[in-house]
Symmetry: C2
Subunit: 118 residues, 2 copies
DNA sequence: TCCTTAGTTCAAAAGTTATTGAACAATTGG
DNA sequence: CCAATTGTTCAATAACTTTTGAACTAAGGA
């Protein structure tokens, strides 16, 4: 039960940009970046939409090569593909994350500030 | 006859990313970046689509704050809003342009290489 | 003034993306 | 085995985006 992911060299710039051009998905990426190293399961994101809708957005991110999802039991552990994105599009992810960090219009995950101690 | 543009602080990250997530518009931005300082009119881009369709894509870019269009006679002179984008989203435009420079899947403007002498 | 050039606007059609709920599958724990 | 948990898939719908052609506006030159 492994899920399909593009290889690094199959990651496409317009597709990545298009996928990030959605507030829900940008919020997911921003949250993943703030918890880098910690694999998160889908239910962490339920603030951002219904379970079905998140499944859709997380699949878009995965298919674009922005995230990686590993099946662990009944969970999908989701991580940012930072190294792959940095290799393919140097500086892009950093600038997107930095810019998203001070965007008050983006939905928040957790209903609390990202700086709250974990 | 001035066209509507967002102020710098009204430029939105998801909207900019969404607008750049289209091969035609990315090709326009890439070409504008390669000719920075030289204002271009719309007909420069006719390789990328019909006049009507380009009017649509150029309006999207302008409304998102990515380009500026100035009316000069019967022409619209189009420039990249690099300073505004750099101020709002540091590093973003540079990384997008650098990444788009080596994307063979993007349509080309002019039917010749961008490095051809002007 | 009349014609041309440059680009917009409008309405329709076609295509794509987002959202929902109900049903499904896979794993884990009792 | 049974039930709960986690997440997917499917079909429907709603909403948006892209593309087109015909009609239009505005400026400039003959």
């Amino acid at each position: 039960m492994t899920l399909p992911h593009p290889n690094t060299d199959q990651i496409s710039l317009p597709i990545v940009l298009g996928v990030l051009g959605d507030p829900t998905r940008l919020a997911i990426v921003r949250y993943l970046a703030s918890k880098e190293g910690v694999p998160l399961n889908c239910s962490q994101f339920l603030d951002l939409g219904s379970k079905t809708n998140l499944s859709y957005h997380l699949a878009k991110l995965r298919e674009a090569g922005v995230t990686r999802a590993e099946v662990v039991g009944t969970n999908r552990m989701i991580t940012l593909r930072r190294a792959d994105l940095d290799a393919r599009f140097p500086g892009l992810l950093d600038s997107v994350i930095a810019a998203s960090a001070d965007d008050p219009a983006l939905p928040a995950v957790g209903g609390h500030d990202l700086e709250v101690t974990a």
